[in-house]
């Protein structure tokens, strides 16, 4: 007969008992905050795994024949804010993208100036958190070239996108970390499927951050702000749906 407690058996037991204890602990704890933290352990792990594996891996790019015949719209399709509507009347000739915050030289860019910068065109898949996907072609300026132009200060950690659309009194905004901000496929898109970005898809410019879900792809961008922390913004969770719907800030899963 074998011994009851071999080292292997002890290791196996410890490894297998950990999740059981975790489950039990979740049931036992009356504290809402601890429960939340436990349920969010998946996002915590996924984000750290992303930092370890494939920081710079590229999202798949598709062929023109793979493009969705009709790209479903979602979220806001027509902002009500004054400035955006005034800009829209001029065909966005008066639109200015303000870039400020933790940067060396705050600057604003007109649409013509953005379009004059070297552009990138990519055919990628847009995945909504609800489960559907659509493929489209996006043309825009790599976010990295804008950030290099203004120069980030040493304490800049996140890039925040302030948008023209709002729901009630909540302004849409999103934030990403510097790994995604400097990723080659992260662009400010002003073109879609070979044409100017349509209004319902976020004219004149929207974010494409291709390794995350749809709600991170901020539309109707008015201002880009570099920050060292997003805790002071909105409800402190780094984005519109993060604040309002308790969705993950890291939406790579």
């Amino acid at each position: 007969m074998t011994k009851a407690f071999t080292r292997r058996r002890l290791l196996a037991t410890a490894g297998l008992a950990t999740p059981a204890l975790l489950l039990g602990y979740y049931g036992k704890t009356p504290d809402k905050k601890t429960q939340q933290a436990l349920l969010r352990s998946g996002e915590w792990l996924s984000f750290r795994a992303r930092n370890l594996i494939g920081r710079n891996a590229l999202a798949r790019e598709y062929e023109p024949e793979d493009i969705s015949p009709e790209f479903r719209t979602n979220g806001a399709t027509l902002p009500k804010t004054q400035q955006w509507n005034a800009d829209a009347k001029t065909g966005f000739q008066t639109w200015k993208l303000q870039v400020d915050g933790k940067v060396n030289t705050p600057q604003s860019f007109s649409l013509a100036q953005l379009k004059a910068l070297p552009a990138r065109t990519q055919i990628t898949r847009h995945d909504c958190v609800e489960g559907w996907s659509a493929i489209g072609q996006w043309t825009g300026v790599p976010l990295s070239s804008i950030l290099k132009t203004v120069g980030l200060t040493d304490d800049a950690r996140y890039i925040v996108f302030w948008c023209a659309d709002e729901m009630g009194s909540w302004q849409y905004y999103e934030s990403i970390d510097l790994i995604d901000a400097f990723h080659p496929q992260t662009i400010l898109a002003f073109g879609m499927n070979g044409q100017n970005l349509p209004v319902e898809h976020g004219a004149p410019a929207r974010l494409r951050v291709e390794r995350q879900l749809g709600y991170k792809q901020a539309k109707f961008i008015m201002r880009i702000e570099a920050v060292s922390s997003f805790e002071q913004l909105g409800d402190g969770k780094g984005g519109f749906w993060e604040d309002l719907g308790n969705y993950e800030w890291y939406a790579g899963i």
């Binding site: 494939g54 479903r72 995945d127 996907s133 899963i253």
Partner: protein
């Protein structure tokens, strides 16, 4: 080390049937499965349509759809439509008699419509399940669980033997005595297929829906034929797991739930007595 040969167990004997690691992982994964299935159904409710290929959204044709027209719920698969009022599409809720949602409140986690909370449950437990499955899988190869208990012997893999076993199953003829200690060939193939086939498909098709995983392992997209195909396969595999659990529970009930439950909790299994003919 004992040199005395261990006597072959006989009918009526209590024998140690399941290892501690097998029993622990059985119950942990049973709990995880309930969480994954129920939170998965809530996530499905956010977009109750399935597609084949890379893309798929409301303007595109869906091969499966659950929905509601007025107060009637329906399930449509291909061209066939079924009225599923009361279960799918429209069902009785806790506060309202007619709730329009794909899967009913009693089947989802949380029971109210909450995509973000369902995702928190699903994607946290997915980590535990994936790491646990990998760990238990490797352990089972090295501790002999796969070789001794699950891989069929050459002698078992004959057409005649498999047919005979099928006949025994249909007639509810149970093995007795020492023969009941080991899994029969149908059980072996069943458990091997689920643990070595269905569960890896479930985990990999789930991973294929992640944009980050797509970037680091684009071959997964090719393996499943695109993200929306992976979503469809994930749903079908989950449905197959529900079928597996149902068959598994029926077999436990048919073979003596007390003895079966004891063997999976304590490890001890009483061999059925040899019946005199």
């Amino acid at each position: 080390m004992s040199t005395v040969p261990i006597p072959r167990p006989r009918g009526g004997d209590l024998i140690k049937r399941h290892k501690l690691s097998t029993r622990l992982w059985h119950w942990i994964s049973a709990a995880i499965m309930i969480v994954m299935l129920m939170s998965g159904l809530m996530i499905f409710n956010a977009h109750p349509r399935l597609y084949w290929g890379s893309y798929g959204a409301n303007p595109d044709p869906a091969w499966l759809e659950i929905g509601a027209v007025k107060d009637d719920g329906y399930l449509r698969i291909g061209e066939s439509e079924f009225n599923t009022t009361g279960f799918l599409g429209v069902s009785k809720g806790r506060w309202r008699p007619n709730v329009k949602r794909a899967f009913p409140e009693w089947a989802t986690l949380p029971s109210n419509y909450d995509l973000s909370v369902a995702r928190h449950w699903h994607l946290s437990f997915a980590w535990v399940f994936a790491i646990g499955t990998l760990f238990f899988g490797i352990l089972s190869v090295f501790n002999g669980h796969v070789r001794r208990d699950l891989l069929p012997h050459k002698s078992e893999m004959t057409f005649i033997h498999i047919c005979r076993q099928c006949k025994h199953h249909i007639m509810f003829k149970r093995p007795n005595g020492a023969a009941a200690r080991d899994y029969n060939v149908l059980q072996k193939l069943f458990y091997l297929g689920v643990s070595g086939g269905l569960i890896p498909v479930l985990i990999l098709s789930g991973l294929t829906m992640s944009p980050w995983i797509n970037a680091i392992a684009p071959w997964l997209l090719d393996l499943f034929g695109g993200r929306q195909s992976a979503r469809s396969i994930h749903f079908i595999a989950a449905f197959a797991i529900v079928l597996f659990i149902a068959i598994h529970l029926i077999m436990v009930l048919a073979n003596g739930p007390f003895n079966e439950m004891r063997s999976m909790i304590t490890g001890w299994f009483r061999l059925p007595k040899v019946r005199n003919k």
